[in-house]
Amino acid sequence: MKSKWSIIIAVIMAVTMVVTLSMVGCKTTADETTMAEETTAAAETAAEETTAAAEETTAAAELSGELRIVWAQWAPADYLQKLSEGFTAETGVKVTIEQIPWETFVQKYNAEMIAQNDTWDIIVGDSQDVGAMATGGHYVDLTQWCTDNGVLDSFTPASMTYYAEYPKGGGQYWGVPVEGDALGWAYRKDLFEDPENMEAFKAKYGYDLDVPKDYDMMLDIAEFFHDPDNDFYGIAIYGDNGYDSMVMFAEQMIWSYGGDLGDYSTNQVKGILDSDASVDGLEMYRALFQYTPPAFNDAFFVKANDAFVAGKVPMSCNYFAFFPGLANEATNPYAADTGYFPCPQQVGSDGVKRQFAALGGQAASVVTYSKNQDLAFAWLEWFIKPDVQLEWAKLGGYTCHADTLASDEFLNATPYNAAFAKSMEIFKDFWAVPEYSELLTTMSATVGPYVITGTGTAKEALEACAEEWTRIFIEAGYLSE
C-alpha cells in the first residue's frame, strides 16, 4: 500500500518535472509542427510556382499563405497595413505588419536575425542598419531584382544609395525604400509675417525677416525671437544624445559647412571629421543650441514638437514623419499658421554653397531565413507600382518614388509635402557600417558636452571623436594601425 503510494508520487513528480522542465522539448516539437506546417505551406506555394512555370508575375495570382512584415510601432506602419489590403485583394495573401516600439525595434530585429529565425519575411529596417544586416547575411541581395524591376530608375538615386545600397558606392542593393524621411523645419508664419516683428527685425539686422536662407540667418532669427523672460525661445532643435538624435543634427551641420564624417569608401576619419569645415558646422550647432528652451538637452522629436505646439518657439527642426502632428488642428492650436521649409543652404568657408538634410526612414528588405520569399518578392513588386506608390503617399506614407514625388497631387496634398520632396534630393546618411551603433554612441558622448554646455571646443570634441572612430575601425579591421 505504502510503496504503491510512493510509486504514484514518484510518477506524479516525474510528470511535473517532465512538464515543467522538458517544456523545452515540448516547445521544440511545437515549433517543429509549426515549422512543418510552414514548410508544407512553402512547399505548396513552391509547387504552385513550378506549375505556373515560374512565369514572372503570373505566379502572383496563385500565391497563398501569410506575409509577415516587421516595422516600428507608429502610424506609418498602420498606413502600410491599410495599403497592403490592396495586395491581399489582388492575391489573397494575408499581410501582417508586426509593430515593435521604436526604442527597441532595431535591437529586437537584430536579435531575431542573429538567431536566424524565420519570424518575418520582410524587415522594414533602419537605414543605418543595412550594413550590419547585409554583412551578417540576414538580407537577400536585391541588386538583380532591383535592376530587373527598374527600381533604380523609378526611385530617387539618393534614396537608393542611403536606404538600400551597401557598401556605399558598391552597386549592391539590399532593400526598397518604404518610408523616406529627413530632417525638415516647421515655422510659425504668424510670427514671421507679423509687421511689428518684421520691422523690428529689419531695424536690428538690416535685412528682411523671412524663412531662413542659410544658418547664419537662422541664428539671427533665433536670437531675435529668444525671450526667456516671457517663456519664449528662439529655436527647437535636438539635444538628446541617447540614440542618434544629436548626431543627426550634428552631421547635417557638418555637411552643410563642407565638412564630412569621414570617407565612406576608405573609412578614413582623421583629417576629415576634425577638419576646419566640420568644426564650423559644429560651432553653428552650439550657437543655435543656446537659443533652445530649457531642458532641451534630451530633446528628440517629442520635445521638439511639444515646444512648437505649446507656442514656445518660432521654428523647430524635426523629422518629416512627425509633421502630421503639427498640421493637426485638433492638437496644435497653431496648425493653421504653421509653414514648412527644407534645410537651408549654407556657404562654407571655401565659398561653396551646399544644402544637406540628415536622413531618417526605412527600407524593406527580404529576410534570408524567410520561407515565404516568393510572397515577399510578390509584395515588393506590387509595392513599387506607381499607382500603389501614389496611394501610399495619399495615406500618409513618405514615398521615395521619383514620379510620385514630382506629381502635383503629392506636392499639394499636405502643407509639408513640397518641403519633403526637396529634402529627398539633399539628404545624406550616417555611416552604415555594422559598427554604426558604436559610432553613434561615441559621437554623442564626445560631441554632446560641447554642444549642450559648451565644454571644451568644437575642434577638441571632433578630434576626440575621430580618435575613437579610428580605434573602432582598426578594431573592426577596416583600417590598419
Binding site: K2, D298, A310, E438, T441
Partner: protein
C-alpha cells in the same frame, strides 16, 4: 516486491525511511533541477563568456568569435576610468536611496506606532507603491517630473528644473522615485520590529523617569536594529541591480544616470558585446556578494 513486503513487516521504521527518501527526491528534485537549469548553468556559462570577446551579433567562429582573452578582459575593464565613474554613480545611488529609505521608513514606522482608527487603511495606502511595477513607477515619475506640465516642480514651486534628463539632476530623480517606492518596505519591517518590543521595557523606563531620547536610544533602537539591518541588506542588494526605475524615468544612453546596471544592459543587449557584458555582470555580482557579506557579519553581531 516480496522482499519489500518482508522488510515492511520486519522493520517498519527502516521501510518508512526508505519510502521517505523516494518522497524527498520526488519533492525536492524538480525545484533543484529547474534552478540549476535556469540559474546555475547560465551562471557558469556567463563565467566562461566573461573571459571571451564573444559578440552575439555575429556568427560563431571559434578562435575569432569567441576568442578567449583570459583575465585580460577583467583587467581592461577594471582599468577603465569610465567604469569606475559609473561605479561611483551607482554607489551614490545606493547610498542616497537606501539611506533615504531607512530614515523615512523608520520615521514613518515610529509615527505609526500610535493606534488609531483607520491605521490599517493608512498603512495599506502607504504600502501601495511597493507593489507596483518599478518601470511603471518610473513612468509615473517621469510624468510627474516633467518640467513643462508635471506636478512636481509646480507643487514645490521649483521652476523649470528638468529632473528626468538633466545630467545634474537625473540621478536624484531616480533616487527620489526609488525612495518613494521602497520606503514602505523599510517601514513595514520597522513596524514589525517595533511591535515586537515587550511593553514592560518601556514601563520599567517610565518608572525610572527616563527621557524620551533615553528610551529611544536604549530600548527602541537596539531592539529594532536587527530588523533594520535586514531591510538594509535587502535594499542594498536590490538598489545595486536596479535599472528599471532609472530607465523608466530617464531612458537609456547619455540622458540616463550613468549606473552600472544600465551600462551593462547597453553593453550586452544594444551593442551586443556579450563577453564584456558577462564580465561586467560578474564584477557587479562580486561587489554585491562582498557588500552583503559585510552586512550579514554585522547583522550576526547585532543579533548577539
Amino acid at each position: 516486491m516480496l522482499r519489500g513486503r518482508k522488510e515492511n513487516t520486519s522493520t517498519e521504521l527502516q521501510y518508512r525511511a526508505l519510502s521517505d527518501q523516494a518522497l524527498i527526491r520526488a519533492f525536492v528534485l524538480p525545484t533543484i533541477v529547474l534552478l540549476v537549469f535556469v540559474n546555475i548553468f547560465p551562471l557558469f556559462w556567463s563565467l566562461i563568456l566573461s573571459f571571451s570577446n564573444f559578440t552575439a551579433k555575429f556568427p560563431l567562429v571559434w578562435g575569432k568569435n569567441p576568442k578567449f582573452l583570459g583575465i585580460e578582459q577583467y583587467i581592461r575593464l577594471l582599468a577603465d576610468p569610465a567604469i569606475w565613474g559609473r561605479f561611483i554613480t551607482t554607489a551614490k545611488y545606493v547610498i542616497l536611496s537606501v539611506g533615504g529609505e531607512m530614515i523615512l521608513g523608520f520615521g514613518l514606522a515610529l509615527l505609526l506606532q500610535i493606534k488609531f482608527k483607520g491605521r490599517e487603511v493608512i498603512t495599506t495606502l502607504l504600502v501601495l507603491p511597493m507593489t507596483m511595477s518599478p518601470v511603471i513607477v518610473g513612468l509615473m515619475w517621469k510624468l510627474f517630473y516633467d518640467p513643462n506640465w508635471g506636478m512636481f516642480n509646480y507643487l514645490l514651486g521649483l521652476g523649470k528644473i528638468d529632473w528626468a534628463t538633466d545630467i545634474k539632476y537625473n540621478l536624484y530623480a531616480a533616487v527620489i522615485a526609488d525612495v518613494w517606492m521602497w520606503t514602505p518596505f523599510v517601514m513595514l519591517l520597522a513596524l514589525a520590529g517595533l511591535g515586537a518590543i515587550p511593553q514592560y521595557l518601556y514601563e520599567a523606563a517610565e518608572v525610572d523617569r527616563a527621557s524620551w531620547w533615553h528610551k529611544f536610544t536604549k530600548i527602541t533602537l537596539p531592539m529594532v536594529w536587527p530588523l533594520l539591518l535586514v531591510a538594509l541588506i535587502f535594499r542594498t542588494m536590490e538598489a545595486f541591480k536596479v535599472f528599471d526605475i532609472a530607465m523608466g524615468i530617464s531612458g537609456r544612453g547619455a540622458t540616463a544616470p550613468q549606473l552600472l546596471s544600465i551600462y551593462l544592459y547597453d553593453t550586452a543587449f544594444v551593442n551586443w558585446k556579450t563577453g564584456v557584458g558577462s564580465a561586467l555582470g560578474y564584477i557587479v555580482l562580486i561587489m554585491i556578494i562582498a557588500i552583503t557579506n559585510i552586512f550579514i557579519k554585522y547583522l550576526n553581531k547585532a543579533k548577539q
